[in-house]
Symmetry: D2
Subunit: 278 residues, 4 copies
Amino acid sequence: MRKATLLIECEDGPGLVHGVTGALFRASLNVTSNHEFVDAESRRFFMRTEFCGSFEDARLAEEVRGALPPGAVVKLPGAEPHRVVVLVSHEHHCLADLLVRHAFGELPARIEAVIGNHDSLRGLAEKFDVPFHFQPAGGLSREEHEAGILSILEPIRPGYLVLAKYMRILSAPFVARWPGGIINIHHSFLPAFAGARPYQQAFRRGVKVIGATAHFVTDALDEGPIIEQEVLPVDHSHTPESLAQAGRDVEQMTLARALRLVFEHRVFLCRNRTIIFD
Amino acid sequence: MRKATLLIECEDGPGLVHGVTGALFRASLNVTSNHEFVDAESRRFFMRTEFCGSFEDARLAEEVRGALPPGAVVKLPGAEPHRVVVLVSHEHHCLADLLVRHAFGELPARIEAVIGNHDSLRGLAEKFDVPFHFQPAGGLSREEHEAGILSILEPIRPGYLVLAKYMRILSAPFVARWPGGIINIHHSFLPAFAGARPYQQAFRRGVKVIGATAHFVTDALDEGPIIEQEVLPVDHSHTPESLAQAGRDVEQMTLARALRLVFEHRVFLCRNRTIIFD
Amino acid sequence: MRKATLLIECEDGPGLVHGVTGALFRASLNVTSNHEFVDAESRRFFMRTEFCGSFEDARLAEEVRGALPPGAVVKLPGAEPHRVVVLVSHEHHCLADLLVRHAFGELPARIEAVIGNHDSLRGLAEKFDVPFHFQPAGGLSREEHEAGILSILEPIRPGYLVLAKYMRILSAPFVARWPGGIINIHHSFLPAFAGARPYQQAFRRGVKVIGATAHFVTDALDEGPIIEQEVLPVDHSHTPESLAQAGRDVEQMTLARALRLVFEHRVFLCRNRTIIFD
Amino acid sequence: MRKATLLIECEDGPGLVHGVTGALFRASLNVTSNHEFVDAESRRFFMRTEFCGSFEDARLAEEVRGALPPGAVVKLPGAEPHRVVVLVSHEHHCLADLLVRHAFGELPARIEAVIGNHDSLRGLAEKFDVPFHFQPAGGLSREEHEAGILSILEPIRPGYLVLAKYMRILSAPFVARWPGGIINIHHSFLPAFAGARPYQQAFRRGVKVIGATAHFVTDALDEGPIIEQEVLPVDHSHTPESLAQAGRDVEQMTLARALRLVFEHRVFLCRNRTIIFD
């Protein structure tokens, strides 16, 4: 008797929910939560089901697949936590927030290591008994810097990379190694103020609300599918510096919420958009 | 070929979704949206399904009922708009908002009449070609006032009464005539500041956020199931009057959203709480 | 004995608040509210003071000017309401909201007329006894269309033009006639999704929050100083059409709040940004 | 040449701003920010001024006092950080947030110690090199428990006590030792759900928004002046446990914002309300 989550993605057609719930019913499994969505443009069907009972994974997946059209993606993620590596530069707030949640069992993932292109957050990571690796970028080509990161990641084999205010751009070949597996926090309400120095840009434009965006990283900078966005009202008395300061709380909350959604298998990718069953 | 919504409420048990979607599948109906929820305490199952296709109402309802335990509530609301009467006192903002939405086809309901215990909003209602009835309360007992209202309602037979800043308390016998059919907008974030003069109370307490609550009316004053709540930040510079003024926008938006949810059959009642499939 | 508002803008320097409050003190005027701000980059000083008492306008302004550096802008707006003309196309929601507020004395301004490049909102304006002028754009050059509008405006001489979902671009010469006097509601969270069809753009980008922006119109499209911005969370189930529908409420609230700020003399322009004393 | 903040509270009267800014002007001090407020009911005047320049504290305070009515409160807080002790029970999130901000210089205060009525957060405090004192309550009377706390506080002499999810009620004599100096985070949107188990209460009532309230502690439980309130939308799918989980982020942000306001001398007390110059 255990709790599990079933994830399905396939071409839409009649009777899909009936078929999948039938497979679960015949296996005497008890559905506790069920979400479906059909993307109107692509005619793709997405389904997330939480259930409990006794079952054999491969056999259940096969039964479910039998109720679906050819090419259906069926996943039954195991109970072991996600293996995650966090990349940082010199800003501490997102990393600190993740380390605290991790230490108190609130992050459904295991942070295996932190990699910094500065060495300044080593003390923070080590306080929480997470290994810190300093991989400088200065004086190196992007390829050399990324090769250094890859050699650190090699023995860890993480499922996800979290860019927690990692202020460098990753190359397309690097990104391609973790499709749908690299999550970034951008310090603006994308697509407003993509690129560098968003708080400076926001100040110049005189906006009355700032925000943060957690998104999957693709090879198009700041253009990947958005997972979560949060905002904060501001006014004329804010300087670029005080905008950045106010923005930090929003950044860390936005990243934490996005990671919870991803790690709990609530996020599907559909072209350049996310479908989220919360 | 038409679009319809199926609403189900029953005791929870295994295979309910499978059974219901099976009935729809066998009838060659195409499900476009599906929500289910089980209330953990009461073990009640709630389901809302949007579908399209050709079908005969009574027969489909019977098929669906066959897949459910005894005592299941199965509804297939027709396409005719809800018949609604709005009760008001002297404040115009919620009524004006509803009349505008109604006039431009944004309210999935028909406002058959407005009843006021003051005569001051007659002009507003009549501008939008909605009949206005003045039913004074002064000098009358509550029973007499309500008898007057009932005689106005008698020929209209509305499905819903909307209390759009109607500042009087309805008796239990009156409320009992529209179970789950009377919706009120209360000018506070309930249960804070129940009762009279909530903005005065909020001012006294020095709160930093005010709100509004749309709820079903039961015979316990301000205690009925909550449909929607919205809030607004305030500060020390607000007087009770400016709190009330700021609150008006929140009141009208909260009421409008609650009515959309109710009229689109998205709200289920479960004891003293609402289950909302949005 | 009357209430008034004093508005000051000048080069920053020592003792400005002391000087201005001294002039008011010597005139036996009672300050009830006072806001100051210095823009760090431009070294401009902005001050807004509410006061009451008996005074002669020109003389008080002269006294105040004597306490300020040369070139200071000193304003003592009179009590007569702003004269406003609203421009619309075919969407009704912002216009309806303004007409209701206007009819019930909640807009500190007088709506002298509505001009539409479609005729479809005539009935709405006339319901509220506001003259409606149909000035079509079809088959006309922009110059001809604007000449038509100008000939309508000529006898009215409005202080402000409000673009309440007026879906056409005004020429630079037209805009130059009302510097700081044309207010637009843009249906996105600028600078995201400037230009046409912002809800379609927001859908394509898969954002999780949409918004609206009220701003002054300058000759750079969608680039004028921002007055107010509001947002709304959305999710993957929204279509471009349902984003637009959800956005309407935000648009009308954002415009109404911006107009209140402008009409109560709470908004100063400082380069391409606004300074707002609320 | 240094930056300082001047805080004034007195009976209202004519010319107060003029008098105070005159004292600063004569001392050749440069005002960079200025806020005033008069509470209409009590006729109390509140003013907060940031300025920079060279001055002798006692002398400047005397000059300012000369411009004010008898009984005026004039404060020129020094630059040394506030000395703070944090009280906790077993929940970690607010404490962790404060320790991180403290460690990275973002809290304008020094956390001298943490006192817990459980020992479980010792490791967290010590990670950040803050002394932890375990003062159990079990088997002790409230007087004995508080005597233990007081003996820990005695050598520290903190200016502020922060109750960061300290789940016990302090006695009136204890509270009286720090008037306006004890800040609590309550896990509801007060005055809704005062008292014990607010998330359980919120679940029972079926609210659609939950919140947190940071307030000064007085001897009336959960009735002290409110500093900051934040809210979060929730729905029927939340259990009391998931409400509590969702609420934690709001609690820690609300407490952090309230403390920033208090420690930056932005909060005045006016009867049972706060006046906040942000």
